[in-house]
C-alpha cells in the first residue's frame, strides 16, 4: 500500500539554504577556495580521488568543499559525477617500474639499488602538535641534491632472479570491470584488485590489521612502497597508435609474505599487491595485505574462516558508497512500510483480545 503525499518543499529549500550558510561558516573568516583545498589538504583530495575512483584533483577538492569536509559525502559526489561522463576507452597498463619516485622504501632490503628515498613522509615526525602552523608563516624550500633520473627497479625483481618469490606473469586478458557488470562471485584477482583500489580506507585498514593480529596471518613485510608519478598512455583508435595523455600520482605497495608451501606450491615468498590513486600509503599497504589474504585458495592454503579470507564478505562490504547508501536510507521516510507493521500488530492484539473475551465468556 502506497500513500501519495505532498508537502515539505519549503522545508527542504530552507534546509538547503541553511546548509549553504553553515558550509560558509562565519563570513568574517576568509572563504576557502578550491585551489587551497587541492594544494593544502592534498591527502584528503587523494582519498576522495581513490575511493571516488576518478582521478581529478580539482573535482575532488570541489567535492570536499561542497561536502563540508565529509570525505564519504565527497566521494559520493565524485561517484555521481563520474556516471555522467562518457568513457573514451582504457589506458594501456601503467608501468610502475618507470615511476618518477617521490618516495621509495623497502622494509626487507636496506641496500637496494636506487636507494631508500623517504620523500615527504610523516613517519619520522614526533606526532606533537605543531602550534607554529596555527600562525601564518613562510616555509623554506626543501633541500635538493643531484638526482639520478634513471628508472628504479622493483624490489621483487631481485627475489625473482633467485626464484625465491612467485612470479607475476603478464596477462593481457581484458580485465572485468565492476563499474560495468555487477560484481559476482567467484571474483578473480583482477576484479578483487579493482574493488580494493576503490574500497573504504577504514574498512580495508581494519581487515588488514586483523590479518596481522592472527586472523589468516600471512606474515607480510613491505617489500617495497613507492609513491610517484607515472605517465598514462592510451590507444587512440582514429590514430592507430597510443599516446600519453598525462601523468598521475600513484602509491604502490608490494608485500613479501612468508609461505611454507602447500599441496600445490613450493616454499617461497608470495606477494600481495596494493595500488591506489594519489599519495595514499596506509590504504595501499592495507590493500596489499587484504589482497594476499584473499589469495588463499589459488595458493592452496587452508580456509581459516577469517573475515579477510572471505571474498564475498570483503568485496560486498568494502564500498563505502554502497554501504552508506543502504545504511542512511533507513532514516528516510518509511511511513508506508511501518503503517503495515502497525496494522499487523493491532490486528494481532485485536485477535488476542477477542480470544480472551471469548474464553471469559465460556
Amino acid at each position: 500500500m502506497y500513500v501519495a503525499v505532498k508537502g515539505g518543499e519549503r522545508a527542504i529549500e530552507n534546509a538547503h539554504a541553511w546548509l549553504a550558510e553553515e558550509r560558509r561558516g562565519d563570513p568574517g573568516v576568509a572563504e576557502l577556495d578550491v585551489a587551497q583545498i587541492r594544494q593544502q589538504l592534498g591527502l584528503a583530495v587523494n582519498r576522495v580521488m581513490a575511493e571516488g575512483s576518478l582521478y581529478d584533483p580539482d573535482l575532488a577538492a570541489l567535492a570536499i568543499k561542497q561536502a563540508r569536509g565529509d570525505l564519504i559525502e565527497a566521494i559520493f559526489l565524485i561517484r555521481a559525477y563520474r556516471t555522467t561522463l562518457p568513457r573514451f576507452g582504457a589506458s594501456t597498463p601503467v608501468d610502475t617500474g618507470a615511476m618518477a619516485c617521490d618516495r621509495r622504501i623497502s622494509a626487507t632490503f636496506k641496500d637496494l639499488p636506487g636507494g631508500q628515498i623517504l620523500g615527504p613522509t610523516f613517519d619520522y615526525t614526533h606526532r606533537l602538535l605543531d602550534f607554529k602552523l596555527a600562525a601564518e608563516g613562510e616555509v623554506p624550500d626543501a633541500p635538493k641534491r643531484d638526482a639520478d633520473l634513471a628508472d628504479v627497479p622493483h624490489v621483487t625483481g631481485f627475489l625473482n632472479r633467485e626464484g625465491l618469490i612467485e612470479e607475476a606473469p603478464q596477462d593481457d586478458t581484458p580485465p572485468p570491470d565492476l563499474t560495468r557488470e555487477p560484481l559476482e562471485m567467484p571474483a578473480d584477482r583482477a576484479l578483487r584488485l579493482q574493488a580494493l583500489a576503490r574500497a573504504d580506507e577504514g574498512f580495508t585498514l581494519g581487515l588488514a590489521y586483523s590479518t596481522q593480529r592472527g586472523y589468516a596471518r600471512n606474515h607480510a613485510f613491505v617489500g617495497e612502497l613507492r609513491i610517484g608519478s607515472v605517465p598514462v598512455e592510451m590507444e587512440i583508435p582514429e590514430l592507430g597508435f597510443a599516446v600519453e595523455i598525462g601523468e598521475i600520482t600513484l602509491t604502490e605497495c608490494e608485500t613479501v609474505n612468508q609461505f611454507k608451501g602447500s599441496k600445490t606450491e613450493p616454499p617461497q615468498f608470495t606477494r600481495g599487491y596494493g595500488l591506489v590513486f594519489g599519495q595514499t600509503e596506509r590504504k595501499a599497504i592495507s590493500m596489499a595485505l587484504v589482497d594476499r589474504a584473499l589469495r588463499w585458495e589459488e595458493l592452496g592454503e587452508d580456509d581459516q574462516g577469517a573475515p579477510a579470507q572471505d571474498a564475498e564478505f570483503v568485496l560486498y562490504h568494502a564500498d563505502n558508497i554502497q554501504a552508506t547508501g543502504f545504511l542512511e536510507h533507513i532514516k528516510l521516510p518509511h511511513y508506508v512500510d511501518f503503517q503495515s507493521e502497525l496494522e499487523l500488530v493491532r490486528k494481532l492484539r485485536r485477535e488476542a483480545g477477542a480470544h480472551q473475551v471469548q474464553e471469559a465468556a465460556e
Binding site: 562518457p86 583508435p237 582514429e238
Partner: protein, 188 residues
C-alpha cells in the same frame, strides 16, 4: 582527403541531436512497427542516415559492434571508431550487429541473452531497401490491436519471439526512416 570523410558527419549538436535520436529509437521500440524519421548524422555513403544516427546514439566503447557483409569496410570501421569508439567483434560477442538482412544470416550466431541477464543479447540494425507500414501483421506489447510492417520475412521473427524473454531485438533502417521489432512482438 579520405581522413576528413571518416572524421566528419557526427552530430553537430551532440547533446540535443542524440537526445532526439534516442527518443525516436525508444518510441520505435515501445511501439513496434511505428515509423520514425531520424536525422543529423552523415555517415559514409554505404550506410543510411538512420543507421548513422542509431550508431551515434547507442554505441560507445562498451558496446562491441559486428559489421556484416559490405558494411565491414575500412570507411565504415574508421567512421564508427572515431565517432563512437566502439570495438569491432564477431557475431557471438556483439551487442550491436549491422548489415543487410542477407548479410546478417544466420541469426543463430548472435547472443540472445541468458536466463539471469536477458539483456545481454544483440540488437540487430538491419539496412532494408524500403520501409513501410504494410506487410506482416504485428501484435503484442505496445501495439493497440495490430500494426503492419514491411519485414524481409516472418519465420525468423516468429522463431525469435518463441525464445522470449531471451531473443534478439531489431531496428530496421532505410534512408532517414526507422522502425523496430523487439523480441516481445508476435509476427503473423
Amino acid at each position: 582527403m579520405p581522413q576528413s570523410q571518416t572524421l566528419s558527419g557526427g552530430f553537430a549538436d551532440p547533446a540535443r541531436q542524440s537526445a532526439h535520436a534516442f527518443r525516436s529509437v525508444m518510441e520505435a521500440m515501445a511501439r513496434p512497427g511505428s515509423l520514425h524519421d531520424i536525422t543529423g548524422a552523415e555517415p559514409p555513403a554505404s550506410l543510411s542516415v538512420a543507421t548513422g544516427a542509431v550508431l551515434l546514439t547507442l554505441c560507445d566503447t562498451d558496446t562491441p559492434v559486428h559489421l556484416a557483409g559490405d558494411a565491414d569496410c575500412a570507411t565504415v570501421r574508421d567512421w564508427i571508431a572515431f565517432h563512437t569508439g566502439a570495438p569491432f567483434c564477431g557475431p557471438a560477442d556483439c551487442m550491436f550487429a549491422l548489415g543487410t538482412w542477407q548479410a546478417l544470416a544466420p541469426l543463430s550466431a548472435f547472443p540472445t541473452g541468458t536466463a539471469q541477464y536477458p539483456d545481454r543479447s544483440a540488437t540487430m540494425i538491419v539496412e532494408v531497401p524500403q520501409l513501410s507500414a504494410s506487410g506482416a501483421t504485428l501484435t503484442g506489447p505496445g501495439i493497440k490491436d495490430n500494426a503492419s510492417l514491411s519485414l524481409p520475412e516472418t519465420r525468423a521473427f516468429r522463431d525469435n519471439h518463441a525464445l522470449f524473454p531471451l531473443g534478439l531485438d531489431f531496428i530496421f533502417t532505410s534512408g532517414s526512416r526507422l522502425a523496430a521489432l523487439p523480441r516481445s512482438t508476435e509476427v503473423r
